[in-house]
Structure formats: C-alpha cells, structure tokens
C-alpha cells in the first residue's frame, strides 16, 4: 500500500543526529539488542546534560562491565570503562583527584550491586559526590541471562532454570538507608520523567541514585516468556505506578508486579568533600590545604 505523502509534512532529514555532539557517532551501531532499554537511558542522559547546560569538558562518565557497562564507550565525554564492579571506586578516585568534575556512573545492576555492592553502600554512606544511573534489567545480560541480585522471585534465569528463590535487593531502600542524598526510580519508558530526574540530579550533590528499570527482550523476556521488546514497554506503561515520596521500604519489585516509580529521596546533606573540608578547616585552620578543584597535579616549573 502506498500513499502520497503530504509535502508539507515532509521535512529534510537532519544532517546529523540531534545527540551527535554527545555521542561517539563513529562507534554507532552500538552493541545493544533491539528493544533493549539501555540506549534510551543514554539518550536521556545526553538530553539532560544538554538541558542542564553542563560544561561537557568537565563531565566524566564511568562504567563497569556488562551491557550497561558499554554506555561510557558511546558518550563523547571523558569516558572510562573500568573493571567489573569497580565503576564506583574508580569514579571516586576521579572525583577526589579533581573535585571540579561532574562524575557520572552508568552501569548495570549486576555490576553495581552484585559484584560491586560493597562499593555502592560505602559510596552512599560517605555521600561521595557521584551521580549513579543504575540500569536494572533484572538479569546478567552480557554473559547470557544468569541470575542477578535484582532478579524478582520466581523469575527464570539461565542459572535459576526452575525460577529464582533468592530474595532480590530493593535498591532505592538500599541506597536510602546507606545514606544517599537523592534516590529516584523510573523505567526506560519514562523518557521525559527520566530526563527530568537526571537533570535534577545533576543539580544536586552527594550520592545520587537513579534506578532505571529496563527491558531485556533477548534474555529476561525470552526466558520468562514475556514477549517482545514492545510487550515489555507495554507492560511498563500499564504497570508503572508513580508515587513520589514513597517509603522506600515499600518499593520492592515482584515478578511482573507493579513498579513503583518516582522520586523517593531528595535531601540536602553534606558530601564527603564538604565534610572533609569543614572538619579539617575547623581542626587545622589555616594549615588546611585542600585539594585544588582542578586537581592535585603538580605542573612542571
């Protein structure tokens, strides 16, 4: 079937992708599967950087290992693809080494709270000035669909072929109870809300967690017979429940249950660097010499 296009509706295609200034276009196509939510999150992050008017020269992005771990590799920023689970401590070093940087961690659930769980809670406890975008697809995608610490009870994975019997983490609650200053959750379907949340988090300080529930059609949906990428999106549309300020103890995710989204925590509290500066300033007075914002590199002279 062919129809004549209304010439008034036909626009010249843009010469370049609108996100091109933020992306390494020479690396596109990316590695992510059709229907995967990670690319959407990357786009929301890039859009938020643009809207927030960030100086991109001062933005660093760090990822660990896994599907989401590839995010740093596609951003046209100072990008670091670190070891499995260690994106947060790597990012901590970047932030403390050059305090003026805006440091974002984009990585997955297995990376950040499986192998990297210890770093996650300690960075939150210290309120290190990091924005963490945790893409939760309930499964280890890159390695072939193994069980994750976020896999809902009864969901099937390649290492829990009879269904998962381990209780999963409730990540907003984990972050909030560990001391995070900002905690929000959205799904990869909430493009505008997620973008706003990232933009808002850029404006905040301290340990900021944005959990993004993302579909994994290739593994999670297939192993659990949940249909295609589109049906995953439809599920989010029908089952996301927005409850700003919800008690984080009540935002667990059960298998195919509703997903409570929203902003749960937004507290102004001092960051690690602020606490350190204040403390040493009080104790040492003029003798305290903090790390300069531009870093501790000593130039030739």
């Amino acid at each position: 079937m062919s129809e004549e296009m209304n010439p008034e509706l036909v626009r010249e295609p843009p010469m370049e992708h609108p996100m091109a200034p933020y992306l390494r276009m020479e690396r596109i196509p990316h590695v992510w599967c059709p229907g995967c939510g990670i690319g959407t999150v990357v786009q929301c992050y890039a859009t938020a950087l643009e809207k927030a008017g960030c100086d991109l020269d001062k933005v660093s992005v760090v990822s660990g290992i896994g599907c989401s771990g590839r995010a740093a590799g596609y951003m046209k920023l100072d990008g670091f693809h670190a070891t499995h689970g260690r994106a947060i401590p790597f990012a901590t070093g970047l932030k403390l080494g050059r305090p003026e940087l805006l440091v974002t961690v984009i990585s997955g659930d297995g990376d950040l709270v499986g192998i990297g769980g210890n770093h996650f809670i300690h960075a939150a406890r210290r309120n290190i000035d990091l924005m963490v975008i945790l893409i939760n697809n309930f499964i280890y995608g890159m390695t072939g669909g193994q069980n994750a610490p976020t896999t809902p009870l009864t969901a099937k994975t390649s290492t829990m072929p009879f269904g998962n019997f381990e209780p999963p983490f409730n990540l907003p609650h984990l972050a909030a109870s560990s001391g995070a200053s900002y905690v929000a959750r959205w799904t990869a379907l909430h493009i505008r809300r997620l973008t706003w949340a990232i933009e808002e988090a850029i404006d905040r300080k301290g340990f900021r967690l944005i959990e993004v529930i993302a579909p994994c059609p290739t593994l999670y949906s297939r192993l659990n017979k949940l249909g295609t990428g589109l049906s995953g999106m439809r599920f989010y549309h029908d089952n996301a429940e927005i409850r700003h300020g919800a008690d984080t103890r009540e935002v667990d995710i059960d298998f195919q249950s509703s997903i409570v989204c929203g902003k749960f925590v937004d507290d102004e509290k001092p960051t690690f660097n602020e606490l350190m500066d204040k403390h040493y300033g009080t104790i040492l007075g003029d003798r305290y010499k903090p790390m300069p914002p531009e870093g501790g590199m000593i130039h030739a002279g």
Binding site: D78, P89, T92, L96, M291
Partner: protein, 385 residues
C-alpha cells in the same frame, strides 16, 4: 623537574621504612592515596593521612583493597599522582585493577609490605614470597616495574624512583618492602626539594581534535590527556586501538598488548637496577634483595674473610630482572647462591638466565624471620666446593 617543596620534609630523621616510604611519596608529588588497613603496611598511610591535609593531598580509607586500587587508577586519570599501600592478602585483591592500570597505561604506585604467606599467614612477620605475584599476579600479558628497598633510606629514595618510572613508562610501579624494612627505624636524610628530581605527568601538547589517547608520537609511550581538560577521550580495559576504542581482533590484540610488553622489555637496560661487589674474581655469587640482602652481605664478608672468593649481587629492581648481567656472570663464576625468604622464587629466574653456564642453588626460609648469617656462610662454602 624539581620536587614541589610543599611535600618535602627536608632534614635528617629517624624513621621506619613505612614512614620513609610515605615521605618519599609526598616528596615525589603524590597527592592522592586510597588504602585499606593491613599489617605491616598501615604506617605508610597513617603517615600520609596525618600530613596530607596540610599539603593539598587527599587520603581516603576505602572499603577494601579492590576499591583502593580502582580509586587510584581513577584518580591518576586526573593527573594527580596516586598510590595505594597494602600487604599480601590485600595485594591479591588488587591484582585485577593493577591489570587495568597496565592496560589503560595509568601511572601509579602500589606498595606491598610483604609478610609471611600464603593466605593470612604471618601478619606481623617478614616474608619475601610475593616477588612472583608482583610480576605475574594479574591475568594476561603485561609488564610492570618492581623495586625493592633494603633500608628506610632506600624506601624513601625508591618511592620517588617508583613514581618517576611510572610517569615515564605509564605503568603501575610496585614497591616491595618487607616487614623488616617497613618496621626498622634508621636515619633517613630527606634532601632539599631542589635536589630531588621528579617526573611530571607527560601531558600531550596536541589540541583535542588531533589527539588519540594511544597513538604513539615517536616514543614508546603515548602522551597523556587528563580528565577534565576537554580531550573527551575514552579508555577501557578491553583490547583497544589508538583511539582507545574496543576492537576484538587478533590484529588489535597483537598491537595493543605487544606494546604494553615491549615498552618495558625494550627499555629494560634503562630500568634494571642492581649493585654488585667482589664479583671480579668470584667463584660464587650470592644473589639477594630486600632485608635478606643485608643479612647475606654480612655472610659474604665473613666468607671472604675465611678466604672464599665470593661476590655479591643485590637486586634493587626485581623486575625487569637483570638477565643480561646474570647471563654474563654465569660465564665467569662457578655458581650462584640465591638467598630469599620464600621456598624458591627468584632462584628460578637466576637459573633461567644462567642457562646452564653456572650452577645455581638456593637457600630458602619460609618466613617469620631472617636467615641465620652462619647458615648462609655454610651454603657459600658448599656452593664454592
């Protein structure tokens, strides 16, 4: 360039090896340290934690050694000279991110104050059994530089040297103290800042649009761009091309990893550090390092007085190993005696380099103490016969 006087505690001090190492780091320009407490290394970071707030440095006690090493790699990408400090069990935990530092070509220094192992072993007592782990501990092919001081003064001097070599070759440089050197207190002379040579971070002079993070520019090591200077570069632990982008191919693996190995191997003559005495007429050459070198030195002098033609070679850099010199000596001496506080690690390297041209024997100690000098004398007598 000359050291920044802010970090240099000029004067004659009475310091233990751990404190001297900390002072060496600060003199070298180190301004970021992440660490996790572990005996017998903790005094290094305790010294730094006390001094850093007044010299513009940041110390953070991380949640474990995995985090400490990862933070050091991250911090180094800001151009801030960075270090971590540990002992055996923590050293094991650091291995993966030491590999990351090697792969990303990140200058940094890792101090391992060796204790008896394996596992928890002898936390408060001496060992020298991490020397092969230092060389081979992370998976895959890579090269590192490993220095090994025998005194607090040398702990100070070699810590500066470690930072300098890490900047020149963009590798993690490991400093292997042992519990004895770490905890012995001796005179340490810290010179004036203008008498201390330090290597600055070798930043690229190219504009961002022409810069590729792993493109060589007539030198064996690429130029550095630090995070936050507008280069917007990418780096990864994956096998990567000159742009720092992952490439999964046989060809890229060959180019990428070959260079990591060759930049050290091709410059080994510049990096190798050792000292030798009385080797000209020697029938036997004793090889030792760290605290054992001091014990063996006494035994060598005693044996000389007893008329045995014995020489001495002390390894200052353990890696790269002085293979040319050992091979050369193997042509003129009858045998080597390797004395070390482990059950035979560096002796394997001496055997390899002697290549059958001289006999090689070892005198080993399991750890927890140093050799009895008289036992070394007896082993020299036996090796000479």
């Amino acid at each position: 360039m000359k050291a920044d006087p802010t970090g240099v505690l000029t004067g004659a001090h009475y310091l233990d090896g751990d404190y001297a190492c900390g002072e060496g780091a600060m003199a070298a320009g180190c301004r970021f340290v992440a660490g996790y407490p572990i005996t017998p290394s903790t005094e290094v970071v305790e010294r730094i934690a006390r001094r850093f707030p007044t010299i513009g440095g940041t110390f953070i006690q991380m949640e474990d050694e995995l985090a400490s090493m990862a933070a050091v790699v991250g911090a180094s990408w800001t151009g801030t000279k960075s270090m971590t400090v540990t002992s055996g069990p923590g050293f094991s935990l650091m291995m993966e991110n030491i590999g990351l530092a090697a792969m990303m070509e990140t200058p940094c220094v890792v101090v391992d104050v060796q204790r008896g192992g394996p596992s928890t072993g002898l936390p408060t007592m001496v060992g020298q059994s991490d020397v092969m782990q230092a060389r081979w501990g992370s998976h895959g092919d890579y090269e590192v530089i490993v220095l090994c001081p025998q005194s607090p003064q040398e702990a100070f001097d070699l810590t500066i040297e470690a930072f300098n070599l890490s900047e020149i070759y963009r590798v993690p440089v490991l400093l292997l103290l042992d519990e004895c050197v770490g905890h012995m207190t001796e005179k340490v002379v810290i010179p004036e800042a203008q008498e201390i040579s330090v290597e600055p971070r070798r930043l690229t002079s190219k504009p961002p649009e022409e810069f590729e993070p792993y493109r060589l520019n007539g030198k064996p090591v690429p130029e550095f761009a630090r995070a936050g200077d507008g280069y917007r570069f990418h780096t990864t632990g994956l096998t990567h091309d000159e742009r720092g982008y992952p490439v999964m191919s046989v060809e890229c693996q060959e180019t990428c990893v070959r260079r990591l190995v060759d930049k050290i191997r091709d410059n080994a003559d510049e990096i190798v550090r050792f000292e030798e005495h009385d080797t000209e007429d020697a029938e036997v050459v004793v090889v030792a390092f760290g605290i054992t070198a001091r014990v063996a030195r006494l035994a060598v002098e005693t044996a000389r007085q007893r008329g045995i033609r014995v020489g001495f070679l002390r390894l200052i850099a353990l890696w790269p190993f002085p293979e040319k010199r050992i091979h050369e000596l193997a042509g003129s001496v009858g045998s080597f005696l390797v004395v070390e506080i482990n059950y035979g690690q560096m002796v394997l390297e001496v055997e390899r380099c002697a290549a059958g041209r001289a006999r090689v024997s070892g005198l080993f100690h399991g750890g927890g103490g140093v050799h009895d000098p008289e036992a070394i004398v007896e082993a020299i007598v036996e090796a000479a016969s």
